[in-house]
Symmetry: C2
DNA sequence: TCATTGCATCAACATTTGTTGATGTAAATA
DNA sequence: TATTTACATCAACAAATGTTGATGCAATGA
């Protein structure tokens, strides 16, 4: 691992643990065991650090989402692909993924508005997907706004909390359990 | 609304919007349209403000949880009461509730450890409840750790996001939809 | 060989931010 | 009336924090 990669990893880890605002340049310098000024060999500004992390993971995520939605699958299959995508990103870029949940609030304008707009757009897509599924009888009839939020919150948990327990469960088991929960809940199937 | 209540409400609102770390005493003074020093007529310190808000709502929540768990209801009924409790607290103390999700990270030791311990204890109780439900055939067989996290994340969404849209949906409709989602998912019941 | 690149060092500055002390004043309470 | 309570004002400080500029040095690559 080059020093630059080490820096990226450490800064991400710190921001994930303490939050962006609570993470100081001196904190980063500290875990890197280097001088404070040295941090600026890798970044332009603290804001820039947040922005690069956030928009990098955000773009990857949204691109993949669009690929899924543009595919020929039916709504149920698309939803499963979407869940699969969440699991994949969580496994591969856990620290960055967790930032998407909380730290976007510390973006400054106009980046923050940009981020929020993209997120809203994404949430509308999910809502449409759920409505499509209801329309063709694959999902039961629900308040679609509420269902969207509940689905999204079930996924957000992954991004937010699955940074620690990485090793504990197999990726495909996790995926299957998630699909099952979203699709059947915790009740016994009759 | 007395000036003190106005202060509590405004400070909560700011912390909810910007996060605790990003909310400055001067921000609070600003929305109160008063001098900076004046804020200290109501608080001892910024930390103290966070602590009082967090532990107040936390205690109320946990007390109610314990009452539910100590009751004679079966697991399914207990879970429904628990969901009902989430909705109730969300409706009555939305701003404080939202703090429980994110802002506990900014507690200082030993308060933070105390908070985390209580939360862990709570999560273990939920896990036990789910296991009990599986044991008596009310819930289907699942990885109980995973199921706990998914249930909790579905509830967390309320605390985190339901501060805006208060008026849009009836409380009991919301409750019913939540129970339905947790219990049956979004799939069609066969 | 020469220039570039990656990283280190040290000192310093301007802001932001939490906090305090001393004081005033008007209303509520006893 | 006397006293406490609630709130306001102003000035100021110490610490934390983001950022810069100038410089050195060793390895890489042309």
């Amino acid at each position: 691992m080059t020093k630059r990669e080490e820096f990226i990893y450490n800064s991400l880890k710190l921001i994930h643990q303490k939050g962006f605002k609570a993470t100081t340049i001196r904190d980063i310098a500290n875990v890197m065991e280097c001088d404070v000024a040295n941090v600026y060999n890798y970044i332009d500004s603290k804001q820039g650090l947040l922005e690069s992390h956030l928009f990098s993971i955000n773009e990857e995520f949204h691109n993949n989402v669009d690929d899924i939605l543009a595919s020929g699958y039916d709504p149920k299959a698309k939803l499963e692909k979407l869940i699969s995508l969440y699991v994949e990103i969580t496994m591969e870029r856990p620290l960055e993924a967790s930032l998407l949940v909380n730290e976007w609030r510390h973006l400054k304008e106009p980046k923050q508005t940009k981020f929020i707009n993209e997120r809203n757009k994404y949430e509308r897509k999910v809502k449409k997907l759920l409505q499509a599924g209801m329309g063709c009888g694959q999902f039961r009839d629900m308040d679609s706004a509420l269902a969207t939020n509940m689905f999204l919150s079930s996924m957000r948990w992954l991004f937010q909390k699955y940074t620690n327990n990485k090793s504990k469960i197999n990726r495909f088991d996790l995926e299957r359990e998630l699909v099952n929960y979203v699709y059947n809940g915790i009740g016994v199937s009759v």
